[in-house]
């Protein structure tokens, strides 16, 4: 084994690569570039938000005014909006997730195939409905319909602060917006979860069944662990949508100051609808306030996602992959 193997002339048969060697470089470069574009866009969005909201954040330094227009300090102005946004989104997620996961399971593990396909399609259709239409529906159909339920909730469960306030006659309360949001994010969570659930290895499902697991136990032992990261992903996607949704909330909610009661109209507001409602007439300081509120939403999303990542990564060793 002492022959000289590295003669340049002989080497050519391995180095003379077949066409397309450049393709790999170009393509991986493109893929990388796409990632860079996204980071740049996001950086621009962040810069845009920060620069535009500086006057509202530190009026003494970055503007001619002493304080912001809508309140004494920016924080005083924004915390009720942040609270409203978070409450509405969390309720929406709490309402939508179980139902969405349920439907996804229904499609992937319960319904016969002849039912599952059309149901999947129909649920996807929900995603097709523009948010204006959801808003209009929420405003005209839903808000009226929930009034008796709110009254009932207030009467019997009024001791819970969430149902503490008077129910009013129009149903244009935070809970109604949250329901509309829940309906809107339902298909997002469902369709992602469904695709993941279907991918659960048969091998593991059968292992569970062969141990004498019922269908539900099998789902708990194999489908959920396998899909955990995917479920959280889809919830994040839905939450993002709920946090950022403008039109539906704007049309449905009668906004007002913060209150724990989510069934009282004329209470609570969300950041996106606050922006949408007031941006057209805003200029100068008011505009900065609104964009600063947008910045806060951005930060909320950041924090929420950090928490989600942390949850996903905590059990990486035992992840369903491989």
């Amino acid at each position: 084994m002492t022959e000289t193997a590295t003669e340049p002339a002989k080497k050519s048969s391995l180095t003379a690569s077949r066409g397309g060697a450049a393709g790999d470089k170009v393509f991986s470069g493109l893929a990388l570039a796409a990632g860079v574009v996204i980071l740049m866009v996001l950086a621009f969005v962040a810069i845009f938000l920060v620069v535009e909201s500086l006057p509202a954040l530190w009026p003494e330094i970055f503007s001619d005014e002493e304080s912001i227009e809508s309140a004494d300090t920016f924080w005083q102005y924004v915390w009720p909006l942040m609270a409203g946004t978070l409450i509405a989104s969390i309720i929406a997620i709490l309402l939508a997730t179980p139902v969405a996961v349920g439907i996804a399971l229904y499609i992937s593990h319960y319904a016969p195939k002849s039912v599952a396909t059309p149901v999947g399609y129909i649920i996807d259709l929900l995603a097709a409905i523009p948010s204006v239409v959801f808003g209009a529906w929420g405003m005209t159909t839903l808000a009226g319909g929930v009034v008796p339920i709110y009254k009932w909730l207030h009467e019997y469960l009024g001791w819970i602060p969430l149902f503490g306030g008077d129910a009013g006659n129009t149903g244009r309360a935070l809970l109604t917006s949250a329901i509309v949001l829940a309906v809107m994010i339902l298909p997002i969570i469902t369709s992602l979860c469904r695709e993941i659930f279907i991918q659960t290895p048969k091998l593991h499902e059968e292992a569970a069944l062969a141990l004498g697991a019922t269908r539900w136990e099998m789902i708990r032992m194999t489908v959920f662990p396998f899909a955990r990261a995917g479920i959280i992903s889809s919830i994040m996607l839905g939450l993002g949508r709920a946090l950022g949704e403008t039109m539906a909330v704007t049309l449905v909610l009668s906004p007002g100051i913060f209150s724990w009661s989510i069934i009282t109209s004329g209470r609570n507001a969300t950041i996106p609808s606050e922006i949408a409602l007031n941006f057209p007439e805003a200029f100068g300081m008011r505009q900065s306030e609104l964009i600063a509120a947008g910045l806060m939403l951005f930060i909320i999303t950041l924090v929420v996602n950090m928490i989600a990542r942390w949850i996903v990564n905590r059990h990486k060793e035992f992840s369903g992959a491989n």
């Binding site: 866009v41 996001l42 349920g102 439907i103 097709a128 409905i129 403008t246 039109m247 909320i300 996602n305």
Partner: protein, 366 residues
């Protein structure tokens, strides 16, 4: 457990619920309340019955099955309600006035609507301009964001080795999902403004170029990209590695492997993710309002002049009727437009499924 158990429980639940509803309702009987009570009672009743007759595990299995079914039925309620609202409001108008599809609002004034509402004149105008706007803007947004989104998720799944760079992309893509749509619009406006004022000119004439279909498409892309990346990434991750290895072992280059093996295998999931993303942005109102202006005439050119998208048209027609004193004609147009918008996305969805089917792994047997 006998087969008829569930029927017995169901009947029991219905009867009991009827009693409970009339008791709590204080005289007035609520049908919704009755059904809700009955459903809850049925689920609980089945649980208890199974628990007693069989065992806890079967009861648990049963309660979850019932809950999954209820989730399904529960989701159908708003779905049917929304679709019914749109069809009931939009279909009659559209059938009576098919010209809505091929005329725009150019030349239509409040006086026309007033005579429509008060004197029964035929409905004027239409939403061809909105249709054109939606199609062009969505198409452009898709052209911008699908390649970026796909390539990014390919980078994440196929090329990155989990370094800080890919982790930060994943993280910030998540963050992007939460950008309020109006902020995306403002951002796109500012971006195009920056571009135009630095490279083209600052005079009013140039500044007036900012609002166009392209600007709206950029705004929508900001909203679309994260959805595309997120869903595509999940789908690529579940493509079995052995297929990639099979391809590499044949001496196929990585990029070709990705194109010819990985993407087709994941196509069904990717297609539904992209459809979801498109569906999301076709329904956007706020960002288009601040980026594309508001036109009454049809404009097919996304690189110049203002455009109106269907959701904007719907929103404005509902909120600011052409004739303030006669809102019906505007509302009719709005609902008809909403119907058309839904049908468009429905067709899109269908197309995506057909594409997905064509690519889907041809499985047979186990």
């Amino acid at each position: 457990m006998p087969r008829w158990t569930w029927i017995a429980v169901a009947v029991g639940a219905l009867v009991l619920a009827a009693g409970l509803t009339s008791l709590l309702g204080g005289g007035s009987f609520s049908w919704t309340g009755w059904l809700i009570f009955a459903a809850v009672l049925y689920i609980v009743g089945m649980y208890v019955t199974t628990y007693v007759i069989e065992n806890k595990r079967r009861a648990t299995d049963g309660i979850w099955r019932n809950l999954v079914w209820s989730a399904f039925i529960l989701a159908l309620i708003p779905l049917i309600s929304v679709i019914w609202t749109v069809f009931a409001n939009g279909l009659p108008t559209l059938l009576a006035n098919p010209q809505l599809l091929w005329t725009d609002m150019d030349g239509v004034t409040g006086a026309d609507d007033i005579s429509t509402q008060n004197e029964g004149a035929s409905l004027q105008g239409g939403f061809l301009h909105g249709l054109a706007g939606t199609l062009m803007i969505t198409l452009m947004a898709t052209i911008i964001s699908v390649p970026i989104g796909l390539l990014t998720s390919i980078y994440l799944v196929e090329y990155s080795r989990g370094g800080w760079f890919s982790r930060s992309i994943v993280f910030f893509v998540d963050v992007m999902t939460g950008i309020p749509s109006i902020v995306a619009g403002l951002f796109a406006f500012a971006l195009v403004e920056l571009f135009i004022t630095t490279f083209i000119g600052e005079s009013p004439r140039h500044v007036q170029m900012i609002k166009m279909g392209l600007t709206a498409a950029i705004a929508l892309s900001v909203l679309m990209i994260p959805v595309v990346v997120r869903s595509t990434e999940e789908m690529l991750r579940v493509v079995p590695n052995e297929l990639r290895e099979a391809s590499y072992a044949l001496g196929v280059r990585k990029w070709r492997t990705i194109f010819k093996v990985v993407l087709p295998t994941a196509m069904s999931g990717i297609a539904s993710g992209i459809t979801l993303a498109i569906a999301r942005v076709t329904g956007e109102t706020a960002p288009i309002l601040v980026t594309a202006g508001y036109a009454a005439a049809t404009n097919w050119n996304p690189f110049g002049e203002w455009m109106t998208a269907l959701p904007v048209f719907i929103y404005r027609q509902l909120m600011n009727p052409t004739a303030p004193a006669a809102g019906m004609p505007s509302a009719d147009r709005a609902w008809a437009a909403a119907l058309v918008l839904i049908v468009i996305v429905m067709l899109l969805n269908l197309a995506a499924r057909i594409i997905a089917k064509a690519f889907a792994p041809k499985n047979s047997g186990r």
